[in-house]
Structure formats: C-alpha cells, structure tokens
Symmetry: C2
Subunit: 418 residues, 2 copies
C-alpha cells in the first residue's frame, strides 16, 4: 500500500469510474450480484467467522466493553438476517431509469422525471460489520459506488465481507471497484474523505455524536446524518392504558441502546393516577430506573428529574416521566425538547391522533405503536443505511430510494421557446 | 433599527415562529394570501413603480450596465407575469399534509409518508425584484417562512414588494413574519445568514458564481445552489437538420444571459458538411460568434477553439462547435466538459434518443427540443425558485414540491416490536 492520501484519492477515482459503469448496468446483473453475495455468505461463512474471531480476540485483548463485543460478533442469526435482506433487496423492483409521470405541456413537450443514481457514496460507520453488507447492498441496488470506512475493531471482518461482495460483483460482470473498503480505518481517513468533493457525491456518517459532528463540520459535500433520538410517548386522556404500558416497555427496554428507543413519557393528568402505578410496576420488572417531575413523584416513586433530563438521550434503562394537562402541553413540550427523531401518541380520540400526526415535526410520528418501529426494515424499505433527522433529501429511514435522485427529461419534436 | 447581528437573529427567530404557525395554516388561507398579493400588485402598482424608479435612478447614477438596469426594471409585462404566476400557484393543490401511499405491514401497522414544510428558507439573490414575489409565493404555498436577502440595487423595490406580501398575509390571517426582507443588503448579512444553523433550515443562493461559492463555503446548513450551465446540443447522424438549426439558434440567441442557454454544439461527421453551413448562416443572422475545432473550421469560418472554450459558460452570443464521429464520442465529451445542467440531442434514431436520455447526467436531458425549456414554469412546476445542479434533495428546477419534505407516519392499534 502506498501512502494513504494518494491511495484514498485513487480509490475514490476508481469508485467514480465504477459508478458510471454501474449507472448503466442491467437490473439483472445488479440483482445477480446481490444473490451471489447471499450464496457466498452461506458457503464461505467459516472463513468470515475466522476473520471475525481475529477482530474479537483483538478487541477482548484491548478491553472492549461487552456491549461493543456483542455488536462486533458475526453470529448465525446475523448471517441469516443478512442473507434474507440481500435476497429481499435483490427481488425489489430496480429503481434506476424509472420515469415518474410523463406529462404533456401545452406545446406538446413531454416532461417527466427519471430516477438516477447519486454517484459515489462515502459511508463512515463504527463497529457493526453487518452494516458493511447492508450499506453495500442498498448502494448497489441504487446504482451507486460506495467507499466504506468501517471501524478499526472490525477491520478483518469488514475486509473479508468486502472480498465476498467484490467477488460477487465480478462474477455478475460488474466492476469490483463499486464496493471498496478504505484501507486506513483511522480518523485521518475520515478527514480525507471529507475533502473529496467532486469525487464523493454524499457522505453518510453513522455512529456517535462526535463522529457525526466532525463529518458535518469538515465535509465539503452533502452529508446525511442522524442526530440523537430524544423520543416521547404521550399517553392521552382516554387512551388504552394496557396498550400504553406495553408500548412504553417495548419502546424503552426491548433494545435500549438504539436511537429509536423511548426516552420520555408524557401522561395526561386525568390518566396519571391509574396509568403511573401500572407503568412503574412494568418498568420495575424491566429493571428501568424512573425519573419524574413533581406531579409524577406525587403518585409513584421516582428520582427527581432535572432540566437536562428532558433533553437527554440515555440509550440506557432510564425513563423520565411528566404529567401534562392537555394535548397542547404535550405538543409544546415535544416541540421544545424533542430531537425530531421518533414521537408517538397513545390515544383513542381521532382528532387528537390527527393533530399529533400533522403537528409533530419528527422523522416518524406514530399513533398507538412502539417507537422501535423507526427502522427501514420495519417500515418496509427492505433495509436501511441510516435514519436522517435532517429534512433535506431524506427525513427518516433511508432505503434504496433515498440513495437515488431524479433528473428531468423532456421529449419533443422540435419545440423551441417563444 | 438596532445593530445588524441581533436584528437579523431576531428576524430569523420571528421567521421560525411564523413557520410553525404556517405549517398548520389552512390551504384556503395560504391561497387567499397569494390571491390578495395578485390583487394588490394591480391596485398598488403605481406605488411599486415609484419605489422601483428610486432604485433605477440610483443605479443609473452609479453607472450600472444597461443589462443590469433591464433586470432591475419592473415593467407592466413583469407585473402581469407575476400576477399570472401568483394565481397559478394559488390554484395548485396544497402539498402540505398529503399522504403518499399508506401501506399495511404484516403486523397491521399502516405506514406512509406525509408531505411537510422544510421550515425557514434563506433566499439570497441579486438584482431582479420579481424574484422577491416568485420565491415568496412558492415558499408560502409550501408552508415555509422565508428570509429574503435581495441585492442592494433593488432595495426600495424589494421593500415595497415585501410590504404588499406582508399586508396580504395579515389580511389572510397569517403571520407577516413568514415573509421578511433582510434590512442590511450587504455582504455581511450573507455571512451572518450562513451562521444561523438551527434557525434557517436551508439556504438557496441565486446569482453569480462568486456568491454561490461563498455561500457553499460558509453555510452551516444545507445549501441548494445552481452552478453554471455548460450546455450542449448533439446533432446525431440522420437528425432533422432544419429543426436542429432552429433549436440551436433558439438555445443560443433567445436570451443568451440565462443559465439554460446553449453553449456548445457537437455534430456527427456525416451531417457536418450539410449542417454546419446552415448553422453558420443562421448564427451569423443572429450575430453569434462561432468558435470551432479543426474539423469544423475545415467546413465553415470560425475562430479556433481553445481547450478552455469547451468548459466555458459564455452567457453571451458565442457558440463553440465540434465534429464528432459517434454518439459515444458525444457522450464522452459531455461527461467530461458538461456541468450537469442542460443537455440536448437532435436525433431520429430511437435507440440513440434512449441512450442519451438514460446515460447523460444532467438536471434536464432533452430530445429534439430547446435547452431553454429548463425553467420551472416551462416544465410545469408553476414557477421556480432556482435550478439545482447538486443531486441531493432537488436536481433541476425547484418548485413548490422541492421546498417541502416528507416525514414517515405509522398508524397502529397497539403494535410493539418482537
């Protein structure tokens, strides 16, 4: 390997050339590469596990936390999920070249929009090696090339997975350079990628707040980032309280380290005396620490909530609870403290459901369902490359469509402008 | 007026509050404000003309070019165009709250996307005062607030127009702060706007290359910018040459200062001997200077084209011509020198039309029509706030839809995640 700067520049140039070829690739070839990857994950699993064991051994030696080790581990279940996801993406309709609504102008010009790839995507992510396969699959289906900068803990796993992906591309007659792993998984590679304007059309950072802020500050090209999820559940007057407790427990405790977990509960004052004791019992069973405002603490035992609790994403078994007097107060609280990620209401009152849906500004707004559904797979996108909380281009889970754009096309027979 | 920084911050905060109110405004109120503006443009035209005359007198005194004076002038034709545009935007379906494809997931959860406003738009533009009305109308229809930073030459005109717009908002029961003019039309206001992350959701710069690059470099929020248009017409073997000449003349000479004008012609070698003399005669009649590669200059009189000619946007009565041997050569030339703005082919060969449409990467790709159609009004968007040549969020003419986004919504009856 030559020195990093020229090497990364060369990778990006090769990716751009591959992206131009991929933009013209047949839907069948792209689907074939995805199917081949699924096959190879099964047939070459032992080798992938061996590479993963090298990463796991190194990580254990350096004292990585158990949670991080778990995220690093390639298990049979992850393999099966990846295979299922690859086959699902392979079978989805190919988006590229589709023409949306060709309409006829008064002068006879036919005007429409054709879906096209974005070009080259820079994807910067942390320890989960399965993201390597998921992001590559979506990028390929969308006709893009992708430059993957995974975490250094997952280096051997990522390299082995990219070898499988590239072998599949070649076997399907597509350029291997469409999926490339950045060979220097350190911070300098991130900063370098941020400078590759004209070569990278988009950077998607997925990881901690510090990583995302770094990329947003340094990148000279568009960035699609997801911020933290300070997610609320508002339990309305007259809501089904059994369902509200189940949704709160699922939202908080099913997988508390994820950005779509529940962090705050707001409950209408008329329901608080009946709802809060049931919530407290269920949360105690789930080993969740409760914090509360004074009105909550008058009804159940909870630590006193401080001002910063209302804007904190715990990503842990902690939940803060507040009693409110109206839907309006809940809406105002969410507008002030929410992070535009995932917001939910439990209600049986139709106008309240409609107001909440229309007025809450968040990437996913739910009525009578768990915030944990804010996930590309759960929402029906097949898979996701991240959840955007910026509003430009994509707001919410990003699947294949969010990795494309549209250009205008016009078909004439000699039209000129008056 | 207090000092500029705090004043601009206050304007932006008031705009954000107005945006929240506007996001909930009824479609009828927004349409009413647009209709009232159209009415007032007619009834209060004399006052607007008087304000415009102050700008024109100052501009003449400072020696502004005739072309710039023309762009500054509010004429009866511009008034009528603005009125027509306002009424057309008023009558368009209101995009906000529309739900796209509510589908049912296997667990019964109904998932869809709801169209919502972006929030607050910063619009930075140069001398044309009609842009004040066009941008405000699109922003209002899309449920956004807009902070207008017009050029200082148009200060009195813009202020008078914004007074009309704000009076219409108030009469329709909407917050006047949804449309505001930045009171310091100098460069420092641009830099300040670029720092208002968290208050401005988007900045759209429209003007010269220097302005756009400044905003792209400084802005701490997403920017939708249009770069220059190095636009080509490829005349294929077997094309209708009469139509090709008409399209070339229309593209080049109808309004040469616009970004959708034609700058380069590529002609297939088999047509060059018949096409080029006809092109030269027509361009001479339109007072267009021709530059050409050696093969062109072997057939017609033209200045020798230099390497930089192929990538230059003249915005003037200059056209550069090249003879190519194939569609492939034309596609490669466009990929190398084009600016992804507007690209056209004249052809009668269906597979060539299809290849050009699919393979050329530009915000508008045309077959047998003039590049001058790359304009929101001409493409049927009602009006436009600019033409984006970046691919994220909007690629090409930006109308009402491009000033909105979608959020996910999910309707359940107690669903939780397994």
């Amino acid at each position: 390997m030559v020195n990093a700067p020229s090497s990364l520049l060369q990778l990006a140039q090769a990716a751009q050339a591959a992206a131009r070829a991929l933009a013209k690739a047949s839907p069948a070839a792209k689907a074939r590469a995805l199917q081949l990857t699924a096959e190879k994950l099964r047939t070459e699993w032992e080798g992938l596990e061996a590479a993963n064991r090298v990463d796991l051994a190194q990580a254990e030696a350096t004292g990585l936390s158990k949670a991080k080790l778990d995220r690093l581990r390639l298990t049979a279940r992850i393999r099966d999920d990846l295979i299922g996801g690859l086959l699902q993406v392979a079978e989805m309709p190919d988006p590229i070249g589709a023409i949306e609504s060709l309409t006829v102008r008064p002068n006879g010009l036919q005007v429409g929009r054709m879906r096209v790839p974005l070009g080259v995507i820079g994807f910067i992510y942390e320890s989960r090696p399965n993201a390597t396969v998921e992001a590559s699959a979506l990028s390929l289906k969308a006709g893009n090339a992708i430059l993957l900068r995974g975490g250094k803990e997952a280096w051997h796993s990522n390299r082995a997975l990219v070898q499988v992906l590239q072998a599949s591309l070649i076997e399907a007659g597509l350029p291997a350079e469409a999926i490339q792993l950045v060979p220097t998984p350190d911070r300098s590679a991130i900063l370098e990628m941020c400078q590759l304007a004209g070569l990278l059309d988009l950077i998607i950072p997925r990881g901690g707040k510090e990583l995302i802020e770094l990329v947003q500050r340094e990148a000279r090209m568009p960035v699609l980032a997801h911020a933290e999820g300070v997610n609320h559940l508002y339990v309305d007057a007259g809501a089904d309280l059994e369902s509200a407790v189940a949704i709160a427990v699922n939202g908080k405790a099913q997988r508390p380290s994820t950005c779509n977990s529940l962090e705050k509960v707001l409950v209408h004052a008329t329901e608080a005396p009946r709802f809060l004791p049931r919530l407290a019992a269920a949360m105690q069973a789930a080993q969740v620490e409760l914090r509360g405002d004074p009105r909550t603490r008058a009804i159940i035992e909870a630590t006193a909530a401080h001002e910063e609790d209302w804007s904190t994403e715990y990503l842990d078994l902690i939940l803060t609870v507040k009693v409110v007097d109206s839907l309006e107060e809940a809406l105002a609280h969410i507008a002030r403290y929410g992070s535009r990620h995932t917001e939910a209401i439990c209600t049986n009152t139709h106008p309240h459901a409609m107001r909440f849906l229309h007025e809450v500004d968040a990437s996913l707004v739910l009525v009578n369902a768990s915030p944990r559904f804010n996930d590309g797979f759960q929402l029906g996108l097949g898979a996701e490359i991240g959840i955007s909380t910026s509003k430009l281009h994509a707001y919410g889970a990003m699947g294949v469509r969010e990795l494309t754009t549209t250009k205008f096309i016009a078909l004439g027979n000699g039209q000129i402008r008056d």
